[in-house]
């Protein structure tokens, strides 16, 4: 199913992936079973939303592919859980169905109160598990 804008609708049951560089210490199971909220801090290229990948189209190993020689974890989230927490997730851009974004968490608003709360909620409450490291 596609939205009016041409994007594919993401089902509530879909699993979504967020890549976490192992070198950042944003996830260390020996310290905390939950990732740091910093793993969900938008970066400069997250102009329209925080980047995630859809398990429907990409494997964990594919999502974990980053710089050569680097290792990565992958945080697993569920679309319906995000929506239930008033966190909007949309497939974007239309020509890449494997990619989606949390549209109310962007590089521009990342330091505002509500986006900061979303980052903590993603890390501490909505992350189902963390897989890896890969690479």
């Amino acid at each position: 199913m596609r939205s009016a804008g041409g994007s594919e609708t993401i089902d509530d049951n879909e699993l979504l992936y967020r890549r976490i560089p192992a070198s950042m210490n944003w996830y260390d199971p020996a310290v905390d079973p939950r990732p740091s909220p910093r793993a969900f801090n938008p970066r400069e290229d997250d102009l329209t939303g925080l980047s995630l990948y859809r398990a429907k189209y990409k494997s964990l190993e594919e999502v974990a592919r980053g710089l050569p020689g680097k290792r990565y974890y992958v945080a697993v989230l569920r679309a319906g859980d995000l929506r239930a927490a008033a966190i909007e997730v949309v497939q974007r851009p239309p020509d890449d169905p494997s990619h989606c974004e949390i549209s109310n968490l962007t590089y521009a608003n990342r330091k505002e109160n509500t986006p900061l709360e979303i980052q903590v909620r993603l890390a501490h409450e909505l992350c189902l598990r963390v897989e890896g490291p890969f690479g």
């Binding site: 560089p21 070198s23 950042m24 210490n25 944003w26 260390d28 310290v31 905390d32 740091s36 909220p37 910093r38 801090n41 970066r43 400069e44 290229d45 980053g66 710089l67 680097k70 109160n113 900061l116 709360e117 979303i118 903590v120 909620r121 501490h124 409450e125």
Partner: protein
């Protein structure tokens, strides 16, 4: 560059071994970053500068010596800064040392942000080695724990 006095000064100042260990662990990590900043290079991530790492190290040293509760971890903020994180029950606290030098403390109850405020740290000198404690500010200049002071203001 002089050697760090991590292990010789710590036990006299901090009473809780777990807190002492937590501070020493993050200080060891900060030293590793300082010595090998390339380990923090990744896609679209700005690693902390040596100056930011230095500030974080000095803050950790002062907080350890002022018997502050130990942090959960220290992480890069991805934008050239460093963040100390602490969890106690449902309260999650952070001290972020930004690339600009600005320091901000935040306190969350669950995921609800209930306090955030800027903090002024004692002056440090860019380029100093974090191993050289000879010019360190007295721990008392931090008025004890930043974590605890914010909690007292907004929670208790």
């Amino acid at each position: 560059m002089t050697s760090c006095a991590l292990d010789t000064t710590a036990s006299a100042a901090v009473t809780e071994p777990a807190d002492l260990n937590a501070w020493n662990t993050v200080m060891t990590r900060l030293r590793a970053w300082y010595e090998n900043p390339d380990q923090l290079v990744d896609e679209n991530i700005v690693p902390p500068s040596s100056e930011t790492i230095y500030k974080a190290y000095r803050l950790a040293l002062a907080m350890r010596d002022s018997r502050s509760p130990g942090p959960l971890r220290v992480v890069p903020d991805g934008e050239g800064g460093s963040v100390f994180e602490r969890q106690e029950g449902s309260v999650f606290e952070t001290i972020c040392i930004e690339a600009t030098g600005r320091v901000e403390v935040m306190l969350f109850e669950g995921s609800r942000l209930c306090a955030r405020r800027p903090v002024t740290l004692p002056q440090t000198h860019a380029g100093d080695s974090p191993y050289d404690a000879s010019e360190s500010e007295p721990s008392s200049s931090l008025s004890g724990s930043i974590f605890l002071s914010v909690r007292r203001m907004h929670i208790e």
